[in-house]
Symmetry: C2
Subunit: 431 residues, 2 copies
Amino acid sequence: MRPKILVVGAGFGGMAAVKALKHADADVLLVDRTNHHLFQPLLYQVATAALSPADIATASRVLLRRNRNASVLMADVTGVEPTAQVVKLADGRTLRYDYLVLATGAAYSFFGRDEWADHAKVLKSIDDALSIRDRLLFAFERAEQCDDPAEVTRLLTFVVVGGGPTGVELAGTIAELARTTLARDFRHIDPQSARIVLCEAGQHVLGAFPGDLPDYASGALRSLGVEVRLGEAVTLVDADGIVLGDERIDAAVVLWCAGTQARPAAIWLGAAAARNGAVKVTENCSVPGHANIFAIGDVASFDPGTAKPLPGLAPVAKQQGKYVGRLIADRIAGREKAVPFRYRDLGTMAVIGRSRAIADFGRFQLKGFLAWLGWSMVHLMLLVDFRSRLMVYVNWSWAWFTYGRGARLLTGRGDTGIARKERSRSENEKT
Amino acid sequence: MRPKILVVGAGFGGMAAVKALKHADADVLLVDRTNHHLFQPLLYQVATAALSPADIATASRVLLRRNRNASVLMADVTGVEPTAQVVKLADGRTLRYDYLVLATGAAYSFFGRDEWADHAKVLKSIDDALSIRDRLLFAFERAEQCDDPAEVTRLLTFVVVGGGPTGVELAGTIAELARTTLARDFRHIDPQSARIVLCEAGQHVLGAFPGDLPDYASGALRSLGVEVRLGEAVTLVDADGIVLGDERIDAAVVLWCAGTQARPAAIWLGAAAARNGAVKVTENCSVPGHANIFAIGDVASFDPGTAKPLPGLAPVAKQQGKYVGRLIADRIAGREKAVPFRYRDLGTMAVIGRSRAIADFGRFQLKGFLAWLGWSMVHLMLLVDFRSRLMVYVNWSWAWFTYGRGARLLTGRGDTGIARKERSRSENEKT
């Protein structure tokens, strides 16, 4: 019997593991809740109507078409039983494994205030992005119809909580959406009067970057029209907005990009976890006490021997996936070498609006347009398949020259009141 | 006071009317349930994962940016009060008008069997298309996981009811999806074994076309692997499939493209209606007894003085919209000419799969690849804005050469069981 390798999660980590197992003499099964691999670094562009979902997501089956030893299963994993060597699925079925790679990622955490999740939207999946897009566009539509000035102000106020890369990307892009794309399209409101507030409890946005890069980022955001609020914590989120420190800010849309929590793999395994719930893994990414179970990417906490565990970045997940895939292939072939995983830091980048970015390459830093050029080239190259690259290139060229947005669609599947109402009616009653 | 012109519906008819009113000394308000104008002739390509919604839909505000006398309102019209000259909205508000253009279109009808709507999907909106796409792709995913041969057969059976253009387009494209795009992507099932059944109660598919074109279409469909069933009526639709004549056909997906019913504008007005519910209009497209109310497109039944009322085609709606827009502009300017509407038939086309079509230009007919070339060029030219044209061109070129589908996404917002289940859970519990 060929060994069964089960990889849970079709993100950067899981996909890299399956690809690294291409020539292994084994049956590889990739399990994911969705049918696609998502290029998450550009998800904020779907949320802000610049790209379509299909531009940044590709069916996992297509990506693994040439991996003849790999199958794909669309299913929802709910637990692991290490002694029986099975994974449990939501529908009651189980899947046996000889090797298990957990690459289930992380979600946003509300610091114990789970009720905030009803009002603040997070950005992790395509559904999240479409739901945010609906909310953003619908806020302008409702403001256009509204006679109450206070309500118009609320509808045109957008709050982003969390000054990390996703928060900065969203705040900058929403500001551009309001100031340029939508500027001429309404008759009763002025989209340029929209207020975009970025709240960061720390002293800096993009605080993980060194030197003057965080200050540059704050300045760049402010020049785009974003109100950057530092050093104050959000103390309440409700249906009408937030409370920041002591100040009430009424807002139609609140986006939550603060703090992540690993998916519950550590709980499944009863394994030691870091503060964010990530499984503490050994130097070869295996789970302590389970030599045939590995955890990689955001669901893992890997101690590189320095002060901090590795950050939750796509390159970490990809490199760990590749490493673990090769390790398992070597073990099966009986040629395993005891080389610990080492993260190769190729630099980190964050983008602010349509023509500025910051980049940290360790030995040197970049900021401004040059960094943005670097950012766009790197992200185009990283896009998983040629088609996505081509489509994004066309979309971006178009958007760059025209300030237009191609995906300004309220599809009615999102969270807008009108959509919900409509869906419960029969076709014939519709206008 | 400038006169108020209210146009209800942002389809081909309504949009053409608003554009024709560009220079009218009036306030024009376009009301639609959605925020976008949809290029419906290509909607079947969204349903079959070849195009993204944004490729064929554009925000109405963007299309009317240069029409300075036009505003856009996203709202749901539920009735008209002709004596008060107001339109009623679902949220209780009313809108006053001096001139009213009803361009509310049509929906599919289930011949009085409304309970069939729970099981058979129609294709009218972007939401419909995404829901069909989810169902199609999910059927293959479920079949891949299924151990019961009878259930696999059911999951890989797709029924299209109605042999008009939409039914033919869907059946042909689903056949290609199964036979080419998906052919290599599964390990346990053979997508090429999928059964696609097109049911038409009449003796021909595309029966509105003359000569041997319908027979050619049947043959072309059969060569794509579609089972064309003529002359038998569907007598039942339920969760597991249909009954065709006396034969039970178990199917995972049933698409309903038979018979349309006009939206209830005639009921709103208490006006005389044709059999399909469309308002019988006068020779200038006005509603009898209401000189300032016009009905155009699928919601109107226009008698051209020949045997049959004008068909429910995009060119009819567009030409009527343009005619009515000009008529109202002329009346406001005091230069109305009593010229009745005349439909200029530029020919009709229908496409069968990726390289064949039929076309009827009255004096001559085309079929096969040449007709398909004509069809693609005409549809590219008709696409409303440059961006859509460019994106569709890129997508099509890609799909044509690779047989690939760029939009093979199960976004979880559709009708798949797994998606529904997931949505009710908190983020942290997800895999």
